[in-house]
């Protein structure tokens, strides 16, 4: 066999699988987004409604509210994860005794199933019997049953940010640590010869040289948080009211509870285009930073 035919033989099964499981359904979904298909009334003939679904979504104030909720969640979570993760990376990079053992411990939360995490945090957040409120009450004196982390409009949006940060700050930490370790020692030695202060060294060497890594971490985390469904669905299932209803949860309700397939296909396409577009712009910015 020629190398050329081996190459195609090797790549073809993967491409075929992705075409069957990802691309064909995507094209089908694009077609459905122009219809009024509702699976709970699938006896109705398939009716093409043009861009009606897209118009309905983009003029629906509720959808915009859910998108804002999602944006706030993404921005707050990613920022907190960057602060905590980068801070931890700086500390671990001092290579104290036993740092690699403790790093492994810190990494554990991000390896867990988000759904299982969301589920067991509901126990920890129980107002009466949960240890979280109890600990807070020990430190602040607030009675433990006077507040509910998952049940209060003011607290619930922060609760999902808190759990997401608990889970994913280690992710940012691990990537930042790689960035810090990629800085060659001689740069610091040169800075020391030039008598640059530690503060100056941080701003002129450490931070700029870690930025490409940090941006990569932000990209991955932002995409994942934008897609967030499992952890929040089990922790608050969008509640109370719709204060933590991220757009993936809205999509799930439209598609699998109201069975509005045409409408939810349109919403899914809007979300995909958003992620894809944002990721592309971000990758371009990332490449510019790397080239500097």
């Amino acid at each position: 066999m020629s190398d050329r035919s081996i190459a195609w033989l090797f790549v073809a099964p993967t491409i075929a699988l992705l075409l069957a499981i990802n691309i064909f359904p995507l094209i089908w979904m694009i077609r459905l987004s122009f219809t009024s298909l509702n699976l709970s009334m699938s006896y109705l003939p398939l009716r093409f409604v043009g861009l009606d679904n897209f118009r309905d979504i983009l003029t629906d104030e509720d959808v915009w509210a859910r998108l804002q909720t999602t944006a706030r969640f993404v921005i707050c979570s990613v920022m907190l994860q960057v602060i905590v993760g980068f801070g931890l990376a700086l500390l671990i990079n001092r290579r104290f005794r036993g740092h690699s053992f403790w790093t492994t411990i810190i990494l554990l939360p991000m390896m867990l199933s988000p759904a299982v995490v969301g589920n067991f945090w509901t126990l920890l957040f129980q107002p009466q019997i949960g240890p979280f409120n109890y600990l807070i009450s020990i430190f602040t004196g607030v009675p433990p049953s006077s507040f509910s982390m998952t049940g209060e409009v003011g607290l619930a949006p922060w609760t999902i940010v808190l759990v997401d940060t608990w889970m994913w700050a280690p992710y940012v930490m691990l990537i930042c640590l790689a960035g810090l370790r990629s800085i060659p020692d001689y740069i610091y030695e040169a800075a020391e010869v030039d008598r640059a202060s530690p503060w100056r060294q941080f701003w002129s060497i450490t931070l700029p040289m870690t930025v490409p890594f940090l941006m990569l971490a932000v990209l991955f985390r932002a995409i994942e948080d934008f897609k967030m469904f499992d952890m929040v669905n089990l922790l608050t299932s969008g509640g109370p009211g719709s204060t933590t209803e991220l757009v993936s949860i809205t999509l799930k309700r439209a598609a699998f509870e109201k069975w509005r397939t045409g409408y939810s296909s349109a919403l899914a396409i809007i979300l995909f285009v958003t992620v894809f577009g944002a990721a592309n712009i971000y990758v371009k910015a990332l490449n510019r930073v790397k080239q500097r």
Binding site: L18, N22, A115, L123, K227, D230, S248, A255
Partner: protein, 319 residues
């Protein structure tokens, strides 16, 4: 020897002992706080029902295996008279259950769900790594037209929210009778994992010098023999690391599982939250299931320690 130690001690990049101590204290503090929720769950699994919902939350309690027994069995409540008339309990778990006026009616669904998780996890991992190795080898060694575009296409399939992907898959599987089947879930997870496998394995194979294969080809090996006897043995660590990442994904996945399965092919993540006792969630049993479910992940994390960074960034960052 002393000279060497002197240079390292005065090295500029090495932190001072005091800075190290401060850093160590803060990191250990964070690690301990962040691991507490997991320890709490592991402890809850050994609590009795009443200890699990006690106020204030109990840190010291009489450990019991009730949670684990409840996880694996279905029980019915009976009158004390009825239980007194039964033949004496033969096993420790029968005795444990009867103390609460209950009788074991049969096994729960946890074992089938666990087996589903294993079959779907290993099935999709095997397929994804197999397909991924072939594709990664081709991308690494041959000139493929539009290779960068194809690789980007493979990655972009990961950018869709899973709920969005599930909508057309649900319709397609209904037509093909793949809804709630293990085969359907294996194919779906393979498709998701293969993108990770191709990207990771391409990185690993790129690192193996081409000269080895070229020497083998000169010696009269065919391409396939060279791949099997020269490249694969060198890539074994990379393949194992990739396989573990795929396995962890399939093991942990929830969105597809909850939307596309209901019984036959249901895995652990959608099952665990619905372990119900009398009057709501049976927390010790939920905690027991969570513990059993999480232990393999903890072991894998320790095994993967060196390759973790690569895996979570799709091979974008290597050490």
């Amino acid at each position: 020897m002393t000279a060497l130690r002197a240079t390292t001690a005065h090295s500029i990049v090495e932190a001072t002992p005091r800075a190290k101590a401060v850093a160590g204290t803060l990191v250990i503090l964070y690690a301990v706080i962040s691991i507490l929720p997991l320890l709490w769950i592991a402890a809850t699994a050994f609590k009795s029902q009443s200890d699990a919902i006690a106020y204030p939350p109990k840190m010291i309690f009489q450990p019991t295996l009730e949670g684990y027994v409840n996880l694996f069995t279905v029980r019915t409540r009976q009158t004390p008279d009825f239980i007194a008339k039964l033949p004496p309990a033969t096993t420790w778990y029968d005795r444990l259950v009867r103390q609460h006026d209950m009788v074991i009616a049969g096994p729960s669904k946890v074992v089938p769900r666990f087996i589903n998780s294993l079959i779907i996890g290993f099935g999709s991992t095997f397929l994804a790594v197999f397909l991924g190795t072939l594709a990664a080898y081709a991308f690494s060694r041959f000139k493929i037209p539009l290779a960068d575009d194809l690789l980007f296409f493979i990655l972009s399939t990961r950018m869709m929210p899973p709920v969005a992907v599930a909508i057309p898959i649900y319709l397609m599987y209904r037509q093909l009778n793949l809804t709630d089947t293990k085969l359907g879930m294996i194919l779906l997870y393979t498709a998701v994992n293969v993108s990770l496998a191709v990207w990771l394995l391409k990185g690993f194979i790129d690192e193996i010098p081409r000269e080895y294969e070229e020497a083998a080809l000169v010696d009269g090996y065919t391409r396939l023999q060279a791949l099997r006897k020269v490249v694969l043995p060198q890539a074994v660590t990379g393949i194992a690391a990739t396989a573990i990442f795929c396995l962890i994904f399939s093991w942990n996945e929830y969105a597809f599982a909850v939307l596309l399965t209901s019984g036959e092919a249901q895995t652990m993540p959608p099952f665990i939250p619905f372990i119900i006792g009398e009057g709501g969630q049976d927390w010790p049993a939920v905690a027991a299931a969570t513990t059993l479910f999480v232990v393999p992940i903890v072991l894998f994390t320790i095994l993967l320690r060196k390759h973790l960074l690569r895996g979570i960034t799709f091979g974008a960052v290597r050490k």
